[in-house]
């Protein structure tokens, strides 16, 4: 007993805890740390697995460029309305500076990229929200670009596919932001009444006004594993109901269980499964039920 006590004291007295800055100081670009399993890996390797952690399956955020590269037929994407940029309609302080900063950081003009593309040889109109620009928040430009994309799909008679990633409405554009929910929904309704196919793929995070409009209006609503999806923020709900919420609250899996999603689809399977759905919805060829 006593001996054991003495030997224990010989061990290091202090644990060495790396400083907070050192912990996060994995060189940007070369290495990436998985926020879920905390393992560090080469970014190059991670890109090869479509940014899905090969230790724990965590889906790292993808920007719009990476999404296009991994999802559509190579070279088929043609961007629409790429020059459209936001005004500062409410003269909101610092808004223009923030937009300019994000434009420089992301090389994007706004939080959504839209375009015409092919997937498995089938034509689609695609809208991809990019959370790296103003948290993917929806202002007039996001609403307008998505609406124009829906109209394009209607005109070309091809499916409309949207990848959502958004913190919600853009505060700096006030009620104009709110109205983009209605604007995009009105466009989707007309497209749907014309028989248009709508596929929504919710990625991390899809919240607020975006989740309460086009993200939820797909003929098929899918999500990536672990994505945060919900209307009100977790903190607001906890403060309102004065209760702790379950850990999986507002995750893709939680939504599937509660009837809000058709399926949760991993990034590796996504392209093939969307192709399978597109094939089923291709306008009838020469064969008919009379001939089977």
């Amino acid at each position: 007993m006593l001996k054991e006590l003495f030997t224990k004291t010989k061990k290091k007295k202090y644990a060495t805890i790396p400083s907070e800055t050192a912990k996060q100081d994995v060189p940007e670009g070369i290495m990436t740390k998985c926020p879920n399993c905390k393992k560090i890996m080469y970014t190059k390797e991670l890109v090869k697995t479509l940014k899905v952690c090969f230790h724990c399956g965590y889906h790292h955020q993808m920007n719009s460029k990476e999404r296009i590269q991994s999802f559509v037929d190579s070279g088929s994407f043609q961007e629409l309305n790429k020059g459209m940029v936001s005004e500062n309609p409410l003269n909101f302080p610092d808004y223009e500076e923030k937009l300019e900063k994000d434009r420089k950081k992301t090389h994007l003009n706004e939080a959504v990229v839209t375009g015409v593309a092919e997937i498995g040889g089938m034509g689609v109109v695609l809208a991809i929200m990019d959370a790296s620009f103003r948290m993917g928040s929806m202002g007039s430009v996001v609403g307008e670009k998505i609406t124009l994309a829906i109209e394009k799909a209607d005109e070309l008679k091809v499916p409309f596919i949207i990848f959502t990633a958004s913190g919600g409405a853009r505060m700096q554009e006030g009620v104009l932001s709110l109205m983009q929910m209605a604007k995009t929904s009105v466009a989707l309704k007309r497209f749907s009444d014309h028989g248009g196919l709508i596929i929504s793929i919710m990625t991390h995070p899809t919240t607020g006004g975006v989740s309460a409009s086009f993200a939820s209006l797909g003929d098929y609503n899918f999500a990536e594993p672990g994505a945060l999806i919900g209307f009100a923020g977790r903190r607001i709900i906890e403060q309102t109901i004065r209760e702790d919420l379950p850990e999986d609250f507002q995750t893709a899996e939680f939504l599937l269980k509660h009837g809000q999603l058709d399926a949760v689809i991993t990034r590796q399977e996504l392209r093939d499964r969307i192709i399978s759905i597109l094939e089923i919805h291709q306008p009838g060829g020469s064969i008919s039920w009379q001939e089977i």
């Binding site: 028989g195 196919l197 003929d219 609503n221 599937l256 009837g259 999603l261 499964r273 759905i277 089977i292």
Partner: protein, 325 residues
């Protein structure tokens, strides 16, 4: 053998005896082939007698056979590219009903069906194939989707009934069933319903308002389970066998009553004896139905459904009536 049914016992016993004799001749010099032949002839006769005079209660036990093929078995054998869609977009995903899109002979369809489990674990997950309102609302969501994209709808019916529970009542079990009957009546695409196991009451009918209704030879379709009827009528659930005889719940009964269109033949002893053959039989009938119904216009399809149900029901009238006046 597990899963053998009561009425099949004579057949099973004869088979056992034949096998025993065969084993015996293998190990000894004795020649028993004449005995074996005799027994085999008898087996043939007994089998014919049993399976050709199959009683309603025997069909109930075949329909409830634990190994009877389920909706997902038939989906995998009949269709390609099945993509399951979950959730009613309102409350939850009820795994007692499965549904999704698929292809039949290369053409798109929507398929929906009750889904039982095959073991205890799966049965708990699927609530023994007894849906809650969210199951029926998921089914309706998929039917509306099929209508939008002009795909025919195929429903497989296989349930003891809608789940009788507290939560189900709170969420409007009656409304969910009623809504399906109402909305299915107006669907602008062909709807084909096939009873593959038990068709239990309103819980079955909520997937059952179609242009064509077919039943597998040994399936049942009734207003209540034989046990339920016996307990209501005679306050004794053990009289289920008697209730089954009088309730007219078998495929031939329903055909005679003019409720169903086709009886789909089963392998001798039940669909579970040969699932592939059964899928083949279903496929034939399904093809014929789709060919016929795809020739109809939207108005004709809805009208055809209206007339089909308008014709069901029997009544007569009396001349002597004093009336309320």
């Amino acid at each position: 053998m597990a899963g053998d049914l009561e009425f099949e016992k004579p057949v099973i016993e004869l088979k056992k005896k034949i096998n025993e004799l065969r084993e015996y001749t293998k190990n000894t010099e004795m020649d028993l082939s004449s005995e074996i032949e005799k027994l085999e002839a008898r087996l043939e006769k007994v089998e014919k007698e049993i399976y050709e005079n199959i009683k309603p209660w025997d069909r109930v036990s075949i329909a409830r056979h634990p190994e009877r093929p389920t909706t997902l078995d038939y989906i995998s054998l009949l269709f390609t590219d099945f993509f399951e869609c979950h959730g009613d977009r309102l409350f939850g995903d009820d795994e007692a009903i499965v549904g999704g899109i698929a292809k039949f002979h290369g053409l798109p369809i929507t398929v929906i069906g009750h889904q039982r489990g095959k073991d205890t674990k799966e049965n708990i997950r699927r609530n023994f194939g007894m849906p809650h309102p969210e199951g029926y609302r998921k089914a309706l969501r998929l039917m509306k989707q099929a209508e939008k994209f002009r795909r025919p709808i195929i429903c497989f019916i296989d349930t003891k009934g809608a789940y009788p529970g507290k939560a189900a009542e709170e969420r409007g079990q009656s409304e969910a069933i009623a809504r399906n009957l109402f909305e299915m009546a107006g669907l602008k695409v062909p709807v084909i319903c096939i009873v593959i196991g038990e068709g239990g009451s309103g819980g079955a009918l909520a997937l059952g308002v179609g242009n064509h209704i077919h039943m597998l030879e040994n399936s049942t379709y009734s207003v209540i389970s034989p046990e339920g009827a016996a307990s209501i009528l005679w306050r004794d659930a053990s009289l289920a066998k008697k209730a089954a005889e009088s309730m007219k719940i078998t495929a031939p009964d329903l055909k005679q009553l003019g409720i169903i269109d086709e009886i789909i033949p089963e392998a001798r002893g039940g669909a579970h004896r040969d699932v592939n053959q059964q899928a083949g039989e279903i496929s034939k009938v399904l093809k014929a139905s789709l060919k016929e119904l795809s020739g109809l216009s939207v108005e004709e399809l809805v009208d055809n459904r209206y007339k089909k149900y308008k014709l069901i029901g029997e009544y007569s009238s009396l001349n002597e009536y004093i009336g309320v006046n």
